[in-house]
């Protein structure tokens, strides 16, 4: 287990290194020189150029610059947003909470509703099952931004149950503000988790070891808990983990739709303004979160399935 853990961690670090390089390097593909890029196309004064060159080590070779940036990033220094004249790390910490809360809330909905619906459909053939299959087929096709608009229309504009925009203050108000965005964000993934839960519950119910448990007089309720759910937890964890990780990027869309001040929405603004320091910083944070989530899923998978000790996730 320890060796598996170490190897997985080494892979994590390697992926983070390569992705940080790609993020840093890709912005140098932009047409025009870095000064123009950094100042968003305005013509800076010669002093400004000198200061920017020194601040961003532009007189150093590319690899050295990357090294210095990475060193800064590891210590929490992601440089300065030129248009805003603010530390990138400050800009990020101000908004990371909103995105994190949104993703967390959506994950909760995905797990509770998705697994619940999947279980219901898996254990109850017939009308219940058909209903769940139809509902999830449709909700799986509802992109987050369309779901957001529909929720906005029905629950904010028409019914007035939830506010249409903003993040809210304090716990209760935050929950009120975040409910619609979280549902919109989790809409597709919830359906995916429900369908995987349904099919793996079906599959496990038909397994021979369930027959053994039946033949030994274990009550059905316990068979479901100890054997069916426990074993189905392996594929469910995998799909839930992967789709929840993907929410980190999709959050941008939902934040936009509900005019929330989160990381994703800010990344989009920064990209439109060509505020490269901010784009680099946020992209790095989001990719790191995504990669770490995926690693956690892999580790969970190994914990849940005693047959996986050597690594290599089953496809």
């Amino acid at each position: 287990m320890l060796r598996f853990l170490l190897r997985r961690l080494a892979m994590l670090v390697a992926t983070l290194l390569v992705s940080s390089f790609v993020i840093y390097g890709s912005l140098y593909l932009a047409p025009g020189n870095p000064i123009a890029a950094l100042t968003g196309g305005r013509t800076p004064s010669p002093e400004a150029i000198a200061i920017l060159e020194a601040r961003y080590n532009l007189d150093e070779p590319f690899l050295v610059r990357y090294g210095l940036w990475l060193k800064g990033a590891v210590t929490g220094d992601l440089g300065v947003s030129i248009p805003l004249r603010q530390e990138v790390s400050d800009l990020i910490t101000q908004r990371a909470g909103v995105t994190a809360a949104l993703v967390l809330y959506a994950s909760l909905i995905i797990l509770v509703v998705g697994i619940g619906l999947g279980l219901l459909a898996g254990l109850r053939a017939g009308a219940v099952d058909t209903t769940v299959v139809v509902v999830t087929t449709i909700s799986a096709a509802f992109p987050a931004f369309v779901a957001a608009i529909v929720l906005l229309l029905v629950f904010a504009v028409n019914l007035g149950w939830f506010p249409a925009t903003g993040e809210g203050d304090g716990f209760v108000d935050t929950i009120r503000h975040m409910t619609l965005p979280a549902v919109a964000l989790g809409f597709t993934s919830m359906a995916l988790v429900a369908r995987v839960t349904r099919s793996s519950v079906r599959e496990e119910l038909g397994r021979e070891h369930v027959q053994t448990a039946r033949s030994r007089g274990i009550p059905f309720r316990l068979i479901v808990r100890r054997h069916v759910l426990r074993n189905a937890a392996i594929p469910i964890t995998t799909i839930a983990g992967l789709t929840i990780a993907s929410l980190i990027a999709v959050a941008a869309v939902v934040e936009r739709a509900f005019a929330m001040n989160g990381l994703g929405a800010y990344l989009v603004t920064a990209a439109s303004n060509k505020d490269f320091a901010v784009v680099q910083g946020i992209a790095l944070v989001l990719v790191a979160a995504f990669v770490i989530m995926n690693t956690v899923v892999d580790l969970l998978y190994a914990l849940l399935d005693p047959r996986v000790k050597v690594g290599s996730r089953a496809q």
């Binding site: 992926t15 983070l16 390569v18 992705s19 790609v22 993020i23 890709s26 912005l27 593909l29 932009a30 047409p31 087929t137 449709i138 799986a140 096709a141 509802f142 992109p143 987050a144 931004f145 369309v146 608009i149 529909v150 906005l152 229309l153 504009v157 249409a164 993907s246 980190i248 990027a249 999709v250 941008a252 869309v253 936009r256 739709a257 990344l267 989009v268 920064a270 990209a271 439109s272 060509k274 490269f276 784009v279 992209a283 989001l286 990719v287 995504f290 990669v291 995926n294 496809q315």
Partner: protein, 275 residues
């Protein structure tokens, strides 16, 4: 009655295929069959409901909604087609090459694909938009890069299994060139899976591309596009005129449902065929 390419997908598969084909035709000719000029602005008609031959009314700038939906089908549908075409072509080439050469080449390709997996498609699109400026072309390029590893990884597995088949060895012994074996035998034998994967990805591409346009980083206003329309209609939603967003959103959902259902059936069929 059964269309050869859809054998074994059932009635639902045929219905879905019909919806998709219809959507693609609209995507190709929509701008020409639009009853009105989709870009003609008349602010006096903003948010006016269905009227005469304006079947679903006007948007917030007084443009004819139906015409904009028809015209917007082009980027909304042909954009994803381009993404899938690039990703499937590159992905298949990489997968087959990796499976064929194996060894070091395979290791490098697989490692590179693993790194690409660390980047969600929308994130790549945002970074590309920052670098090259927001445009449909940037978005298509970004999504093609993001989807290639998915295609390549799935196909590499099947290509490897196919590569190990005895008939391939027999062809090699007969002195056939590697390219000829791959093009004439190996790729045709995994074609079912390639098509199924393409269909599944088309659904994802459509959603992601619309999302990118929704964010303002894909198709640019005032051009009509379903993703852009959902975004532009958001103000109308808040003021109680939801028709633009809903109509565009519904178009997206209907096509995606059809694509997902067909993709599922094609995947089932490909897996049944592999057994």
């Amino acid at each position: 009655m059964s269309v050869p390419g859809l054998r074994g997908t059932g009635l639902l598969g045929h219905v879905c295929a019909a919806v998709i084909v219809l959507a693609l035709i609209v995507g190709a000719v929509g701008a020409w069959i639009a009853p009105h000029d989709p870009d003609f602005v008349d602010l006096d008609l903003a948010y006016v409901g269905p009227f005469a031959d304006h079947l679903i009314g006007f948007d917030g700038r007084g443009r004819d909604l139906l015409s904009r939906l028809l015209a917007g089908a082009r980027t909304s549908l042909l954009g994803p087609v381009a993404v899938v075409a690039v990703a499937v072509t590159v992905g298949t080439l990489l997968a087959v090459a990796a499976a064929w050469f194996g060894g070091m080449f395979d290791t490098i390709v697989s490692a590179a694909l693993d790194v690409l997996f660390a980047f969600p498609g929308i994130l790549i699109a945002i970074v590309v938009a920052a670098v090259f400026g927001p445009s449909l072309r940037s978005a298509v390029l970004a999504l093609a890069v993001a989807y290639t590893p998915y295609i390549a990884r799935v196909l590499r597995g099947s290509a490897l299994r196919e590569r190990a088949q005895l008939y391939i060895a027999a062809l090699e012994v007969q002195g056939l060139a590697a390219v000829a074996i791959c093009v004439r035998h190996l790729i045709p034998n995994i074609l079912g899976l390639i098509v199924a994967q393409g269909a599944v990805l088309f659904g994802y591409a459509m959603v992601d591309l619309a999302a990118i346009s929704f964010l303002g980083l894909g198709v640019q206003t005032p051009q009509a596009d379903w993703g852009v329309m959902v975004s532009e209609g958001r103000n109308g939603v808040l003021q109680g005129y939801p028709l633009e967003s809903l109509a565009a959103g519904l178009c997206i959902v209907v096509v995606v449902v059809a694509v997902n259902l067909l993709g599922e059936r094609l995947t089932d069929r490909a897996q049944r065929g592999a057994r």
